[in-house]
Symmetry: C2
DNA sequence: ATCCAAGTGTTAACTGGTTGACATGTCCGA
DNA sequence: TCGGACATGTCAACCAGTTAACACTTGGAT
């Protein structure tokens, strides 16, 4: 019973990610994880590797390894910080900003359409989000394992 | 707004998985993904690599690569199918079955306790699961990208 | 009976994550 | 001022997933 919910949760994020990924790949030529990287960076740019890693919830090393290919592809740029020689300052290129703006709008439209489906009659996205956030805060409060 | 829900969803499964993983690691000496492997296999054993891969939602190759270490660790056994020389039949060992039974009960208890927290007053796990399943079926129905 | 398509599992090369070690840079306190 | 603690990014080694190619088995159609 109970563990079925966690199963359902995993299933939902899987199908959601897959749906987003296929839209992004076919229409915009980026993977889902690339989009998340760019959208997150755009939200906090200009910033450094460490801060972006925290925002993405991954390690510094993971970000560090992805930077070269994204820069080569023209999505982001790297610059030196005149005040700190080891710092690498990351920004999104104009092309990257355009992508995030257009694709983000597209994804948003697809997602809101979900809730306008007849089968989703009694479903309020805001309420749902609140419930999930409640669970998150309880879990965080409990500590790693209770 | 809308995409915040997908963000919340990812955050919830992350903290949930992390919580389960720390319990499993500290009390039972397996990772979360090993537990999922064993619990899933136990549900359909005896079975072959291909079927288990489908049940786990991963590729055959991923299962094939994990089998040797799990067998070495004494969690599963591999056997030949007398009717099909290429088939590898997988089963959980008694030790594995015990683990799944005990750890599964433990996880279940932790999880139901979540919903008995005062902050989770208006939260019905069954209702929540139904809502998530509704979203899944709409997404599946829409096809990969709508 | 034979042959070919489909099924089954393994391997190689790749992706993207982890941790731990490391070199280097910054900055504060003695 | 200078010495050590901390910050910062990169590297190596590893883990676990992917797809594509492969070798082998099975079984049915001709």
């Amino acid at each position: 019973m109970s563990d079925k919910l966690t199963f359902t949760l995993h299933e939902l994020v899987q199908v959601l990610d897959q749906s987003a990924d296929s839209l992004l790949t076919s229409k915009y030529g980026v993977t889902g994880s690339q989009f998340v990287f760019l959208a997150t960076l755009e939200d906090v740019e200009p910033t450094d590797v460490t801060t972006l890693a925290e925002c993405l919830g991954v390690s510094k090393a993971a970000v560090s390894k992805r930077v070269p290919s994204l820069a080569d592809a023209g999505w982001i740029t790297t610059a030196d910080d005149p005040h700190h020689k080891r710092r690498v300052v990351l920004t999104v290129t104009q092309r990257g900003r355009d992508l995030v703006e257009r694709a983000g709008r597209d994804l948003d439209a697809q997602f809101t359409a979900l809730f306008q489906h007849p089968a989703a009659a009694g479903l309020d996205p805001r309420l749902l989000k609140d419930q999930l956030n409640t669970l998150i805060s309880i879990l965080r409060q409990n500590g790693p394992l209770s």
